[in-house]
Symmetry: C2
Subunit: 170 residues, 2 copies
């Protein structure tokens, strides 16, 4: 009976994962497009997702940022649902700060820098609060060493908000 048991166990595990994956996965994860450790990829169509909040990152990064979320994320934010449900995906876009050439008091987006992704899958990422992380430059994941820093910081600083820094901007 062991093979059958294993098969049933595998099916039980795969079904929720497949459902969650369907809400955010893009092309198949490969070493070229998926983050080390987590296997997170840049979700298709994220640039059309709803704004959660803008932010500003001081020097040395000196960036303007905007976090957008998929529908599961937006619904959770609006309802105040914590922890975020499986299938939540957040994407942070970032650009170098640039003085507006047309308006003295305005700072606007310059060159795009990184795209950062958080994916909630409480089973797959059980060891990191249910979150998988991905940091991308020019569409390519950065190295393993950078990805090793994600969880420690989120865990230390925003445990009370399900390890997510960004709040919904009203």
């Amino acid at each position: 009976m062991k093979p059958l048991y294993l098969l049933a166990g595998a099916a039980a595990l795969l079904t929720p994962l497949a459902l969650a994956t369907a809400t955010w996965a893009t092309s198949e994860a490969t070493p070229e497009n998926a983050s080390p450790i987590y296997g997170v990829t840049i979700p298709d169509g994220y640039r059309k997702w709803e704004l959660i909040a803008p932010a500003l990152e001081a020097e040395p990064l000196d960036e303007l940022r905007a976090v957008v979320g998929n529908q599961i994320a937006v619904d959770a934010y609006r309802a105040g649902t914590l922890p975020f449900p499986d299938g939540t995906v957040l994407v942070k876009l970032a650009w170098k700060q640039k003085q507006s050439p047309e308006f003295a008091s305005a700072t606007v987006p310059g060159a795009a820098t990184t795209v950062q992704v958080m994916v909630k899958d409480s089973k797959k990422y059980a060891a990191t609060g249910g979150w998988g992380f991905g940091r991308f430059i020019d569409g390519k994941p950065v190295d393993k060493a950078q990805h090793e820093t994600c969880w420690a910081c989120h865990e230390a600083l925003v445990k009370d908000h399900d390890y997510v820094f960004t709040r919904y901007a009203p």
Copy 2:
């Protein structure tokens, strides 16, 4: 024949306005919810619109901002269409800058301040480059004097971009 002529003229004017209006109008414009001079109202559902770009406004306003656009606006930005087509609506959300209580180098949205709206209707707003303007605090339009400043500044500074400051953030 004069009454008939006038009626035909009115119909010709109303048809494109009605089409354009359908893409952005919310409840009927009244002195309570519509901007002075322009009669612009806050469009329904704008908070779900796609991000065009975030921005930062220095002191004394000291704001984080994000401009979102309706589908006509987004399509025009992506295609590089200038002037923006009738029916384009842009909404700028603004919040006071606030030091993140959780991350030393981050500035995040504090209290919401204004919502500012630009509506393209080349006939209705022919005298102001085809744009109608609305500036709102707590959902209520600010006074006529403030609305008198919109066009002069947009006209003086961003004529080459159809009087729109914001560029699409890649």
